[in-house]
């Protein structure tokens, strides 16, 4: 599997400053997150060979696509990438089927139509094969773009702000679509976005970019608990992200019980039992207690042990990490609370979380099959 890992190293001083290096394994989805102008799209274009930075090293699918040190540069049409553009970039003169078939020119003529139809069916567009882009809705165009990117069985899937041009209602549906497609493909995927929801719902890893430089690079759950990261935290505040499975769905109470590594937690929402989900608990919605009062409305009382207490100069709040089984839950409390409860590593505490505070989304990226 190692040879299918995407290796990227890009560096130049101008005109677009870049200093980026990362790897992305097959089955992983790396979200490149950052403000506009941070070089996100340039990184994606450099992988596809549409942009040529001064110093570039790109390896994917066991091939070297760029290696400026050795003078290697494979033109974009010989790189097996599936690229979904922000504005879809469909070919307006071709039908949906024709758009997908255009990516299949390396296959025998007779096979193309069947393969194009299969790809369109995968994104639930069977029956719209004969439509031209202007006869399709925004969401449908997006799905044609996705089918076109998948058609040639890419060695790497590149998504440039894939949901920016559709409205919120369609977006969630499309995210699920991308997630499903993503699962069917055991290749690295790189997603450029400035929407936190995309990150939480689709990514396994995050690369935080600012001014062409990597600010942070880690798994989604690791990055989400860090209070010091601009951009990511501005969007939602620090919190804990973890993967879980729906254990029970209680329709009457309108809640779902989630099983995670080391316990159960109740969240508001609906999802059939067995669904893999990703949950996010904002750190400021976690209450810590050393003893439990009676008559609480809170559904979740998690018992654990304080692992770290991190105070920072700029923030009045203190981040306290509590180990609950295999889960490390981040809680944001005041300095005063730290003093009153004598919070220190090793101290047993109860973490109280309201069911409505937990943000649950059907999980998008499955971990790579091993």
């Amino acid at each position: 599997m190692a040879e299918h890992t995407l290796h990227v190293a890009l560096r130049q001083d101008g005109p677009i400053p870049l200093d980026v290096g990362f790897t992305c394994g097959p089955g992983d989805t790396l979200a490149i997150f950052g403000p506009s102008g941070s070089g996100k799209t340039t990184v994606l274009r450099s992988i596809a060979g549409l942009y040529r930075p001064a110093v570039a090293m790109v390896q994917a699918g066991g091939e070297t696509w760029s290696d400026s040190a050795r003078g290697v540069w494979v033109p974009p049409h010989r790189r097996h990438v599936g690229f979904v553009f922000q504005d879809y970039a469909l070919f307006p003169h071709l039908t949906a089927g024709g758009n997908v078939a255009a990516a299949l020119t390396d296959r025998p003529r007779g096979e193309r139509q069947a393969r194009a139809d299969a790809c369109l069916a995968q994104v639930h567009l069977q029956g719209k094969t004969g439509r031209r882009p202007h006869e399709l809705s925004g969401g449908e165009r997006q799905r044609v773009a996705l089918a076109r990117a998948l058609a040639r069985e890419p060695a790497v899937l590149l998504l440039d702000e894939p949901f920016a041009a559709v409205d919120r209602a369609v977006r969630r549906h499309l995210q699920d679509e991308v997630a499903a497609v993503r699962r069917s493909l055991d290749v690295p995927a790189v997603l450029v976005t400035h929407d936190l929801e995309d990150v939480v719902r689709l990514a396994t890893h995050v690369l935080l970019l600012d001014g062409g430089r990597v600010v942070a690079h880690d798994t989604v759950s690791a990055l989400m608990r860090r209070p010091d990261l601009p951009g990511l935290v501005d969007a939602a505040g620090p919190g804990t992200v973890f993967d879980a499975v729906v254990h029970r769905h209680d329709r009457e109470r309108g809640v779902i019980e989630l099983a995670f590594d080391g316990g159960r937690i109740v969240a508001a929402g609906t999802a059939p039992a067995g669904t893999r989900v990703r949950a996010r608990v904002p750190a400021r919605d976690v209450i810590l207690a050393t003893t439990l009062p009676d008559g609480l409305s809170v559904q979740n009382v998690l018992t654990g042990v304080v692992r770290t207490v991190a105070a920072s100069e700029e923030h009045d709040a203190v981040m306290v990490d509590v180990a609950v089984g295999g889960l490390v839950l981040a809680a944001e409390v005041t300095r005063d609370a730290v003093r009153r409860l004598a919070l220190a590593p090793g101290r047993p505490v109860h973490a109280l979380v309201k069911a409505v505070s937990i943000d649950v989304s059907a999980m998008a990226s499955a971990p790579p099959p091993r």
Binding site: R45, P76, Q86, P92, A102, T105
Partner: protein, 222 residues
């Protein structure tokens, strides 16, 4: 009605279109998609025939075509015939004066294709040549068609340069426009009138054809 002149005009128009459109597609595509040193200068040079009086252009072309110039002499050695006052010379002159009429609309048409669409075609595995034939030319087709029709119509109507370079040799360089002038000089108003009407009808028909074709293309694409 001078049918011989009509045939000369028609074949001059068709030859010009046939030889010029590939040149225009190559040049227009290059100017639309590439950046290089001296591009602005080249674009200005292409537009020169639009501004120069036909007689001035004709004078310079005739000078170059003359057997006393290097170009004219070389052609005469190779082809055994003179460029000046001959049909091949007329075609060459027609190509030069029509350059802006072909290159500019084609360049605009290629420029109108979004860069993302071009990039998407590359990411679909299409080679530069496949991208050109399957994606860019079909999308630029209305512009290419406009260029073809403009060139054809413009060639039929060209008078000054044709007279300077080609003279008035029946069956060789006498086009309809020249024949009209010729008939008028001979006080043969009826013949001149018929030929003028033929050119008018052809102009109206080509215009209608362009409009109809481009409307169909627009409807197909939305």
């Amino acid at each position: 009605m001078d049918w011989q002149a009509f045939r000369v005009s028609l074949s001059l128009g068709l030859w010009t279109v046939a030889l010029l459109v590939p040149v225009g597609m190559w040049a227009g595509h290059g100017l639309a998609t590439r950046t290089f040193r001296g591009k602005a200068l080249l674009e200005a040079a292409v537009a020169i025939p639009l501004l120069l009086p036909p007689t001035v252009l004709g004078f310079y072309l005739l000078t170059v075509f003359s057997p006393r110039s290097a170009v004219g002499a070389a052609f005469e050695r190779l082809a055994g015939a003179s460029l000046a006052f001959s049909f091949p010379g007329l075609v060459l002159a027609s190509i030069i004066i029509n350059l802006p009429f072909v290159i500019q609309p084609i360049q605009r048409a290629f420029e109108a294709i979004p860069a993302d669409v071009r990039d998407a075609a590359a990411c679909c595995g299409l080679s530069p040549w496949q991208r050109f034939l399957r994606i860019e030319v079909p999308l630029a087709w209305p512009g290419i068609l406009t260029a073809m029709i403009l060139t054809f119509a413009h060639t039929l109507g060209e008078f000054g340069v044709v007279l300077m370079v080609g003279g008035n040799l029946p069956g060789e360089t006498r086009t309809l426009s020249i024949a009209i002038y010729d008939r008028m000089q001979a006080f043969d108003d009826t013949s001149a009138g018929i030929m003028a009407a033929v050119l008018l009808v052809m102009a109206v028909v080509t215009l209608m054809a362009t409009t109809a074709l481009s409307q169909r293309l627009v409807k197909r694409r939305g």
